[in-house]
């Protein structure tokens, strides 16, 4: 392997789109704040699992309305 390949990004994570890698990092840091853990979990479902990026869904993830 040449130097350039050694220095290049981790091939195993390169498969994931860059935006998803950035989202994952953001959610990890967000979850480090104890008060933000629930929000991080809900956002994770949207951004990484279901690929839902709508404003309404994200707002609901931040401030869920109580289910009456």
């Amino acid at each position: 392997m040449n130097d350039l390949n050694k220095n290049s990004i981790d091939q195993s994570i390169a498969v994931k789109p860059i935006s998803k890698r950035v989202f994952a990092k953001f959610l990890d840091v967000l979850a480090e704040d104890e008060e933000m853990q629930d929000i991080a979990s809900r956002l994770k479902v949207l951004l990484l699992e279901k690929d839902i990026l709508s404003e309404a869904a994200i707002k609901e993830a931040l401030f869920p309305e109580p289910k009456l």
Binding site: I9, P17, F23
Partner: protein, 824 residues
């Protein structure tokens, strides 16, 4: 992830029917302009994505895949226009085929169609960037920062990051606005509590003292601690038969009416009058720019237009402009917007206190809601209408626009609404009420006070929730902003580093210290490159077009490496190095071969020499190319009958075209002898016009080979390498024999055997010449990898004579001689 094994193109673009076997290897498509190379590129893109980027984007108005994808004679028979590709997918063992017709371009037939394969094909379809043409190079390298950012963000698929940032920003702004509103409501509720209970500030001790005085008058137990559950009227309803809810508190009513009277005095205040008059004057002055005010969004459009301007056409209306005129025009407009915006901000500040007073008047009037409790009853319609009018006026002044509404509101602020008669009627009616007893007053105090406390508690709770949401939304946004900014900076830094390394490889002789800067900012991506240590400049500033092509190629490769990593397995380079000179093309071959060994490149070129470079550098195998000779609308591209030069020569010999065969041999020998001289470091007589003939290069090439073999033999003997010595001796002997047959070494002294005479030879005579050259040139190649032998390193003291695969590796460093005397 994918590699192409075979493609069949039928009635598509300029091609009638063509099958190419790519065999998952690098492949070249060569031919003069207009012979159908682009048709192959379009077909590959179409098969994988359903798109043809050549038919979309700027300057392609009116073109579409449906209308212009089929061969011109099949434009009414769309199902007959199709492309079939056979692929391999890295993690799937079986071959996959995709067949896509222009008729159903979005629904290809994929076989097998397992979910895993469909997912892989969908992923590939998301990468229209698999084709790099000079068009993309210009977009990446030479475009304005805003446009470049768009292009590269689209290529890296980063738009989702911006989308989420925008959504979080919106949520945070809305939460902040809501929090501010709730805070205002809470502050008003506090004021109402204090005013009703007659206390200076909302302090529990002061409140309890005042409340307990009133409770004592009513023989109610005092409240010791003021908690959220406590009601200051606890025990009141059971202690008295009067609820107090249907009575008018004379004092409260009187105070409310007096507060309105007091507020109306503002109208006579000279300071207020000046304040309102001044606002009227400024507002009227602003009316001259009413249109500008209503289209402030145009400002961002103008800024984008500046970014997107291509030095020729306006990006909005495509009107042609001189660059300096366009910039001046937009600059003047932006300056005007700036001035108007400043005026608007100034008047907003002027209007804010006036709006606040009108809002207060509205609230005061709304307290006069007891007309139905009076005897006789009094209508509050006039009061309600005035309250609404004040409230609407306050809102108009806060929004400024439309200016006419704001102007009307200022008239109300100047004159106030005349409600004197209504107020007088209420004042008289209240004055006629009997004075309340101390107990009645205490009861009113507790009942109304409790209502205000409840309102305050609700407002306080609402504010707390809004505050939590505002802080939470801001925290999430801040963390997101920090992470994404760092991530994008890291991504661009990695791409920048990769670009620099790749570019240095193809320009190691003249720009080994090359540096570049990719600087992201909001919505833009700056790209500057070092120019021989003289500073950083845009790529188009000083670098030649050839260097710019090199930069574009390297930036593309760096981006693709970052985007796809190990999945960067397929790319089409569509005539992208046409401005790059022969030497740097060799380095491009080396770069692609060594840095991207797992990527299948399909490379188009109109330059036959570039094709030969790719072959001689081992980037593409000899038969891994389609060589188009001509094209016509009826038949499409026509390939050379033989793809190998020797077959081509043999074909001409067969047809007794000695002159053509001789010309082919001479041109090939000119090319290959220059290659050999370059690789073996042969000394060639310098020519000022750089027009080297075969006589200049072939003899030194053969002579150098002879010399190197001799050196290699002596060296192998010095190291006692018996097998190596035997191998070299055999090669040397073969070379010597073939050399004698070609008689190249006699060219300088015997013009009769010179190549100029080939065209006059008979078929059989020339056949011998061809065979001799073919045999000797084979000795310059490795039998295993077919690459030409070369000396390593190319510069400085030589270490060895070798081939690309290592099968041939003859050291040229002799064993040092031992000094016998020194040992003794």
């Amino acid at each position: 992830m994918i590699k192409v094994k075979q493609i069949r193109i039928h009635e598509f673009r300029g091609i009638r029917d063509l099958t190419l076997n790519l065999e998952e290897k690098n492949f070249a498509v060569c031919g003069p302009n207009g012979t159908g190379k682009s048709g192959v590129v379009d077909a590959l893109e179409f098969a994988l994505t359903g798109e043809i980027s050549r038919l979309s984007g700027k300057g392609t108005g009116g073109l579409s895949v449906k209308s212009h994808g089929p061969h011109v004679d099949s434009r009414n028979n769309l199902e007959n226009s199709f492309v079939e590709v056979e692929l391999s997918i890295s993690h799937i063992s079986e071959s996959v085929s995709i067949s896509r017709t222009v008729k159903d371009l979005n629904t290809p037939t994929i076989s097998p169609n397992t979910p895993e394969i469909l997912s892989a094909i969908s992923e590939a379809a998301l990468h229209p960037e698999l084709v790099l043409s000079r068009r993309e190079i210009i977009r990446y390298v030479l475009s304005e920062p805003g446009k470049r950012s768009e292009e590269i963000q689209a290529l890296l698929r980063l738009h989702e990051i911006d989308e989420i940032r925008s959504i979080l920003q919106k949520i945070s702004n809305a939460a902040k606005r809501d929090c501010d509103n709730k805070k205002t409501i809470k502050e008003k509720a506090v004021q109402a509590v204090c005013q009703t209970l007659g206390i200076a500030k909302l302090d529990a001790a002061e409140l309890l003292q005042s409340v307990n005085e009133k409770r004592q008058l009513l023989n109610l137990t005092p409240i010791n601690t003021f908690t959220p559950e406590v009601s200051i009227k606890d025990g009141l309803i059971t202690a008295s038969s009067q609820s107090g809810l249907s009575r008018i508190s004379k004092k409260q009513a009187r105070d409310a009416l007096q507060a309105i009277r007091n507020h109306y005095l503002l109208k006579e205040d000279p300071t207020w009058q000046v304040q309102v008059a001044s606002a009227v004057t400024d507002l009227q002055a602003l009316k001259a720019d009413a249109d500008t005010l209503q289209h402030t969004k145009k400002e961002s459009l103008l800024r984008s237009a500046l970014d997107m301007f291509d030095e020729n056409l306006c990006p909005v209306c495509e009107t042609q402009w001189k660059p300096e005129d366009f910039r001046q025009h937009i600059k003047e407009k932006l300056q005007h917007y700036k001035e108007v915006t400043e005026k608007r901000q100034s008047i907003e500040k002027q209007l804010a206190p006036i709006a606040a007073q009108l809002q207060k008047m509205s609230l005061l009037l709304k307290q006069i809601n007891f007309g139905h409790l009076l005897e006789p009853t009094l209508s509050i319609d006039g009061i309600t209408a005035a309250a609404q009018s004040y409230e609407q006026s306050a809102q108009s002044l806060q929004g400024v626009l439309p200016l006419e509404k704001a102007e009307e509101s200022l008239m109300i602020a100047a004159d106030f609404i005349d409600i004197n008669d209504i107020l007088k009627a209420f004042e008289d009616a209240i004055a006629g009420l009997p004075e309340p007893s101390a107990q009645d007053a205490a009861r009113d105090y507790l009942v109304v006070g409790n209502e205000k406390i409840l309102e305050f508690r609700q407002a306080n709770a609402d504010h707390k929730v809004a505050e939590y949401k505002s802080i939470t939304a801001k925290t999430v946004l801040d963390i997101y902003g920090e992470i994404t900014t760092n991530a994008l900076e890291t991504i661009y830094k990695e791409v920048e580093d990769s670009l620099v390394e790749l570019y240095r490889i193809i320009n190691k002789e003249d720009e080994s210290a090359f540096r570049a800067e990719l600087k992201p900012s909001i919505g833009k991506l700056g790209f500057n490159v070092d120019f021989y240590g003289r500073g950083f400049f845009p790529p188009g500033a000083y670098h030649s077009e050839g260097h710019q092509d090199g930069m574009g190629l390297c930036l593309y490769l760096a981006l693709m490496r970052h985007l796809s990593g190990a999945d960067f397995t397929f790319a089409v380079l569509d005539d992208v190095v046409m401005s790059v000179d022969a030497h740097h093309r060799r380095e491009v071959c080396h770069l692609l071969k060594t840095q991207f060994p797992n990527t299948q490149f399909v490379i188009t070129t109109h330059d036959r020499i570039w094709l030969q470079h790719m072959q001689s550098e081992g980037l593409i195998e000899k038969r891994a190319c389609a060589h188009f000779r001509k094209w016509d609308v009826n038949n499409g591209p026509v390939e050379w009958d033989e793809r190998d030069i020797w077959e081509e020569i043999a074909g001409n010999l067969e047809s007794n075209n000695i002159e053509i065969a001789a010309g082919l041999l001479r041109r090939y020998l000119e090319h290959i002898s220059q290659e050999i001289c370059y690789r073996l470091g042969a000394s060639v007589r310098f020519r000022g016009d750089a027009q080297y003939t075969l006589g200049d290069t072939l003899p030194p090439a053969f002579s150098k080979m002879k010399k190197l073999l001799r050196e290699a033999k002596v060296t192998a003997q010095s190291w006692d390498q018996i097998n190596k010595t035997t191998q070299i001796l055999a090669l040397e002997e073969a070379f010597k024999n073939e050399l004698q047959k070609t008689e190249v070494d006699k060219w300088q002294i015997n013009a009769a055997v010179h190549y100029n005479a080939w065209a006059t030879l008979h078929k059989n005579e020339f056949q011998i010449v061809v065979t001799n050259y073919k045999n000797i040139l084979n000795l310059f190649r490795c039998e295993t990898c077919s690459s030409l032998l070369y000396i390593s390193p190319p510069d400085g003291p030589r270490d060895s004579l070798k081939c690309s695969c290592g099968e041939i590796s003859f050291t040229l460093k002799q064993k040092p001689k031992v000094n016998a005397q020194a040992i003794a």
